[in-house]
């Protein structure tokens, strides 16, 4: 009898699994059309001067060279995005875990209520618009109102028109919004930590909750910690809506510009320089995926 080749095995496997390919088909066809194809298209279009009207010409690296050497707004946007990511990424990650960990000490209705309070901002759509009333530049804004009432200042401060206040305020609002899916994962993950580990730990000389956190809770939550990191990192690079709605686009002296607002300016705004916008999108893609991969590698190593 002839031995089957690798190819024949594969063919046999494909035939055996035809039902499962039928099941996979609807989702993955759409996934390829609306997620994989756009990423590839974005990389390709980034090397052209496509503007929706004329057929695209290949222009090599010139979009990227222009971005890096000539576009001062992009430099500012890039810097802002990195600041956002470096501050809100780790901070929101720690907040997610810390709050989830404290909430885990509560039980029943109170726990459900606290989870709701912390999670609600991230799902309430454009609820962050209420911040525009808080930081409104006239004296009816809450912040100005209180500062004037307590005599810290005598004239209302134009929060969003003053360059130095824009970024810090946006960071605060972003942090307020950032307890999303990652936070829920931690809440859920903490409930699954094996209770008997804590008793065993107490036998082995763990004296307080901090040691318990470090030696038992964190190591047994590694999968959740990794998933939470992905959620928070991606979110921290994609800041745009709050900047556009609270600071305006363009914001004063581009103080609130991020890579995404810059991208929207060129792509879906008024300029329709799609080649250039796709180059920006590709850089954003590289930043997000690159950072995520590095952090995954680091987290995987923890506790090994």
């Amino acid at each position: 009898m002839q031995k089957k080749t690798k190819w024949q095995y594969l063919k046999q496997d494909l035939h055996r699994c035809r039902t499962c390919y039928v099941m996979l088909a609807p989702y993955f066809i759409l996934f390829f059309i609306f997620t994989v194809l756009p990423v590839l298209a974005s990389i390709v279009i980034g090397f052209t001067d496509f503007n929706m009207l004329e057929p695209p010409n290949f222009v090599g690296w010139s979009n990227y060279i222009k971005l890096i050497l000539e576009d001062d707004v992009f430099k500012k946007a890039f810097k802002n995005t990195i600041i956002f990511a470096v501050i809100t990424g780790p901070l929101s990650y720690i907040m997610c875990f810390l709050f989830a960990w404290i909430i885990n000490e509560f039980h029943g209705k109170l726990r459900a209520f606290l989870t709701l309070i912390f999670y609600a901002p991230s799902i309430s759509g454009n609820a962050f618009m209420v911040w525009s009333i808080i930081i409104s530049g006239d004296r009816y804004g809450y912040l100005n109102g209180w500062l004037m009432k307590w005599a810290f200042t005598y004239a209302p401060i134009q929060w969003m028109q003053t360059e130095k206040y824009v970024l810090p305020i946006l960071i605060v609002v972003q942090l307020w919004l950032s307890l999303g899916t990652g936070f829920l994962t931690f809440i859920a993950g903490l409930q699954t930590v094996d209770k008997s580990l804590f008793e065993a730990g107490a036998m082995d000389g763990i004296k307080n909750r901090w040691q318990e956190l470090w030696y038992i809770t964190l190591p047994s939550m590694k999968p959740q910690l990794m998933f939470g990191a992905v959620m928070q990192i991606t979110q921290s690079f994609a800041v745009a809506d709050i900047s556009i709605n609270l600071a305006g686009n363009p914001s004063v002296n581009y103080a609130g510009a991020t890579i995404v607002t810059h991208l929207m300016d060129y792509g879906s705004g008024t300029r329709y320089e799609m080649g250039y916008a796709c180059a920006i999108a590709t850089i954003l893609f590289g930043l997000m995926v690159g950072t995520n991969q590095i952090i995954q590698k680091l987290l995987r190593r923890v506790g090994e």
Partner: protein, 295 residues
């Protein structure tokens, strides 16, 4: 015995001392929690209160968080504005129901169907497919927005419900969560159904889906949240196709005179996803327990 003894104590002493928990630590953490909780909740409290403030309280100096003379004027203002819109307001509501309804049902079906083989079968290409889905969690939709627009125009579904609904079917997070949750269904359950002669689709609908109810509720909630926040800008250009969210923003955009109605709009936009979350909270938490990344 110990239980009976405990019940005689006043309620604040009734709780047993927990392992490794000191009073000082508890106090510090609860104070931290209290301060942060107020910070988190304050804007939401403002939204609720603003909706009930009469116009003179909305423009009071110094501003007050809590409403003094609650009135429903803002609600009736909004109602008047809604009934005077060019396209009947019920049309916007219908659009939102169609978009969120189809988008949610389609997503849950597609993602669950694809998640089942990924979780329970061995087949060529399995690892690759799952890895690109995980990769897709690592960037936001902004990256793909421009090519997506071109693809949707090219497919000729621009300015139809499909332009918003179809991409929503294939969100990465839903498939990821569903696959992780399905992995914990015991193999023996599926195996015994197979021995009884059930086809794969029958197993999927009769055995798998009823067992992953928390997961598909979670997918539905997450999907609802993102579709609810969708204003359809860019894709839905006809006024007759616009969703409720868009119409509500148009009202808020009317300037200072509509501040009262705008406050109600904010309350409505925030309250609906929060309500759904409250109803399904325990199911969502159950789903998220399996969401970790194992490699």
């Amino acid at each position: 015995m110990a239980e009976a003894k405990r019940k005689k104590l006043p309620f604040w002493k009734r709780k047993q001392k927990q392992l490794n928990r000191s009073m000082a630590g508890n106090t510090i953490l609860f104070v931290v929690m209290g301060i942060c909780g107020v910070f988190m909740a304050l804007p939401l409290v403002m939204i609720i209160n603003n909706a009930f403030k009469p116009l003179d309280e909305l423009f009071r100096f110094p501003p007050q968080i809590f409403v003094r003379n609650p009135s429903l004027d803002n609600f009736s203002d909004l109602y008047v504005l809604m009934s005077s819109s060019w396209v009947p307001f019920t049309r916007y509501i219908l659009n939102t129901i169609i978009i969120t309804g189809c988008g949610t049902v389609g997503h849950v079906l597609c993602a669950s169907l694809a998640a089942y083989p990924l979780a329970k079968w061995q087949f060529p290409g399995k690892k690759f497919l799952f890895q690109i889905v995980v990769l897709s969690l690592m960037f936001s939709y902004n990256v793909t927005a421009i090519p997506n627009y071109m693809i949707i125009s090219w497919l000729g579904i621009n300015n139809t419900y499909l332009a918003v609904v179809l991409p929503a079917f294939a969100y990465g997070l839903g498939l990821y969560l569903m696959k992780q949750f399905m992995e914990q269904i015991p193999d023996s359950l599926i195996e015994s159904a197979r021995l009884d002669g059930a086809g794969e689709f029958k197993i999927f609908f009769r055995i798998v889906m009823p067992n992953v109810k928390p997961a598909w509720l979670t997918l539905a909630i997450f999907q609802f949240q993102s579709l609810w926040a969708n204003t359809g800008s860019g894709f839905l250009r006809s006024e007759q196709l616009k969703p409720l969210q868009y119409a509500l923003y148009q009202i808020v955009g009317g300037g200072v005179a509509r501040q009262g109605a705008g406050a109600v709009v904010q309350l409505i936009i925030a309250a609906i996803p929060i309500t759904f979350f409250i109803i399904c909270q325990s199911n969502i938490i159950e789903t998220m327990t399996t969401s970790g990344m194992k490699d």
